[in-house]
Assembly symmetry: C2
Homo-oligomer: 161 residues x 2
């Protein structure tokens, strides 16, 4: 079965090798933000004839094609996720390293406004909140935007302060 990212590759006229197909599938199925080493690990489970150099080359290619986005949540390794239909941002729990995704309409509009004020069109946005879980958590109020489940993979190294 053709994965979503494989389809995007074909649309862009990229040559589909076995390795590239496997990497595309792994990326399509990821719901977290894996780094290259993790992608390599997952890809190698499906097809051991894949080298880490190919994974590096592939994520770079896909990033250049606008199919993937590179993230940096601290920890030294770049992490990747598929370019999303709707924008979303990240809140990183500095104690556990968990990443929570969220979306916010108001933010969207505000950033456009700020950029316009400075004479720019926004090409991409990086918005990351580093926070700490509240001791006395608020009783669940009106959640305009429900958070997606946090991912498992913890960050290596200490997060920026």
């Amino acid at each position: 079965m053709e994965s979503r990212i494989e389809r995007l590759c074909v649309e862009r006229g990229l040559k589909m090798t076995g390795q590239r197909r496997v990497i595309a599938r792994v990326l399509s199925e990821a719901s977290d933000h894996p780094n290259v080493e993790e992608l390599y690990r997952r890809a190698a489970l499906l097809d051991s004839r894949i080298s880490i150099a190919t994974v590096y080359r592939t994520v770079r290619l896909l990033e250049e094609q606008g199919i993937l986005e590179k993230r940096d949540f601290g920890g030294g390794r770049a992490r990747y996720e598929a370019t999303e239909h709707g924008h979303h941002y990240h809140l990183i729990d500095i104690d556990t390293g968990k990443v929570i995704e969220f979306a916010d309409e108001a933010h969207e509009a505000l950033m456009q406004a700020v950029a316009a004020r400075l004479g720019f069109d926004i090409v991409s946005v990086r918005l990351e909140l580093f926070g700490r879980r509240r001791e006395a958590d608020l009783p669940a109020g009106d959640q305009a935007t429900a958070p997606r489940p946090a991912e498992e993979a913890a960050l290596q190294g200490r997060p920026p302060r």
Copy 2:
């Protein structure tokens, strides 16, 4: 004369060596976002008995002390700026690599609200807009927040899309 950052170091009980004093001064006087190599270059002009290892150790120390903040604007090298009194964010011109700082009250409030909704207190924020200058620039409207002058140092390597 004691630089601002040197004073902060002393307040925190750090031992003030000649090298550290010079690095503190260079950092205090920087109005841009230098990387370690650039800091080393500037420091070495004032005192050639400084090694780049010391610069690395010093920025890490100062970051741990909350005196400096680490930034990543693409290009592979971490960049540093003194922790600010008021928060501000960055807009990176993807064609020239220039960094424009801006502040925005509304953003501030909004981010607090988003974090609160998810049950977090914000410890720090990373907000970077990557944009392209408008062809037909708007006639200067009401600028609630004036931009600070863009910095000179161009980014090495291609910026994230």
